[in-house]
Assembly symmetry: C2
Homo-oligomer: 170 residues x 2
C-alpha cells in the first residue's frame, strides 16, 4: 500500500490512491467489476502477473474492505474474491479512466464500449453543476476547502479559489 507515502496529503484523491493506486490493482478491479471475475486463477491468467504480486494485491483489497473472501461453492478454489459495495462504487472511476484512455491513447478505437444492462444503450460519465447542468468544459471546476481540511491549509486553498472565482466572474 502507498499509505505512508501520501500521509502528508489531506486529500481524498491521496486517500483513494493509497487504497487502489498500487500497480495492477485497478486492473484487478476492472476484471472484477466488468468481467465478473472472482477466482485467483482467473485473475492470474487474465493479467499474467506473478502469483505473489496478485496475492498481495488481493489481500490488500480484502484488508481495505473493497473485496470479501467467501468460501468457494466448489473445490476449484479455496475461496472467492467478491466485490463489496465499496469496491463496486469504484465503477465511475474505472469508466472515467477508460474514457480518457479512449480519447487520448486508443489509436485503433476504444477496445471496450460500456452499455446499460437494462437497455443496452451506451453509458458515459459526465461532470455536472448543480445549477448549470452538464459541463462540457470541466476546466471550470474550482476546489474549495471542505469540512475535512485543517484550518491552516483551508486558508491557502480558499485564497486560490477566491482568485479563480473572481476571475471567472470578471
Amino acid at each position: 500500500m502507498l499509505g505512508r507515502t501520501y500521509d502528508s496529503q489531506v486529500c481524498s484523491i491521496a486517500r483513494a490512491l493509497e487504497i487502489v493506486g498500487e500497480r495492477w490493482t485497478l486492473l484487478i478491479l476492472r476484471n472484477a467489476v466488468f468481467a465478473g471475475m472472482t477466482r485467483f486463477r482467473d485473475f492470474q491468467l487474465s493479467l499474467g502477473i506473478a502469483t505473489n504480486v496478485l496475492a498481495s494485491r488481493l489481500d490488500a483489497l480484502v484488508d481495505a474492505g473493497i473485496m470479501e473472501r467467501p468460501p468457494a461453492p466448489d473445490r476449484a478454489s479455496a475461496h472467492l474474491y467478491v466485490l463489496t459495495d465499496k469496491g463496486r462504487d469504484l465503477t465511475p472511476v474505472l469508466i472515467a479512466l477508460t474514457e480518457w484512455g479512449d480519447r487520448w491513447a486508443a489509436p485503433d478505437g476504444p477496445p471496450i464500449r460500456y452499455v446499460h444492462d437494462a437497455c443496452g444503450l451506451p453509458v458515459a460519465t459526465s461532470v455536472s453543476c448543480a445549477r448549470c447542468g452538464q459541463l462540457t468544459d470541466p476546466v471550470g471546476v474550482v476546489a474549495l476547502p471542505g469540512p475535512g481540511m485543517p484550518p491552516d491549509r483551508a486558508a491557502r486553498v480558499a485564497l486560490h479559489a477566491d482568485q479563480l472565482l473572481a476571475d471567472a466572474r470578471s
Copy 2:
C-alpha cells in the same frame, strides 16, 4: 512509466494508467488542475517528494503530452509546467477519485469541495445511460467489445456481456 508492465492488456484503463499510474503522478496533476501550480518548486514544496522523483514524473508528463514546458516569464524558474488539453481532460478522473475517497476514506468529512467557477455551485460526476439518464446504481454497466479490441479477445468479452445482458432482462 508502467508501459511495458501492462502491454498485454488491450484496455484504455491500462493505457491511461501507463501514463498517469505512477506513484505521485495523479497528485502532481491534482495540483496543476485545481491549485494552478506550474513551478517545480511549488510542486516540490506541496508534495514533499524527492526532487529526482518529481523531475522524473514531470518529464514523463511532458513526454506524454500531458504538460508543456514553456519558458518562465521571470527568473524564479527556468521554465513552467503547464497542462495541455490532454492533461486538463483528466479533470473528471480526478473528481471521480475524490468522490470515492470522500465516500469511503474521509472520516472527518471531505477535505475539498468542487464548485463551478461560473456560479459557485457544487459540481459532481455521474454515470448516465443515453436512454435512461443518470444511473444511481453503476453496477448495471456492461462492457462490450469496441472497435479497438482484437477479434479473439472480442469473442470472450462478448460472451460474458451477452450473459449479463440476458440476466438483466430476465
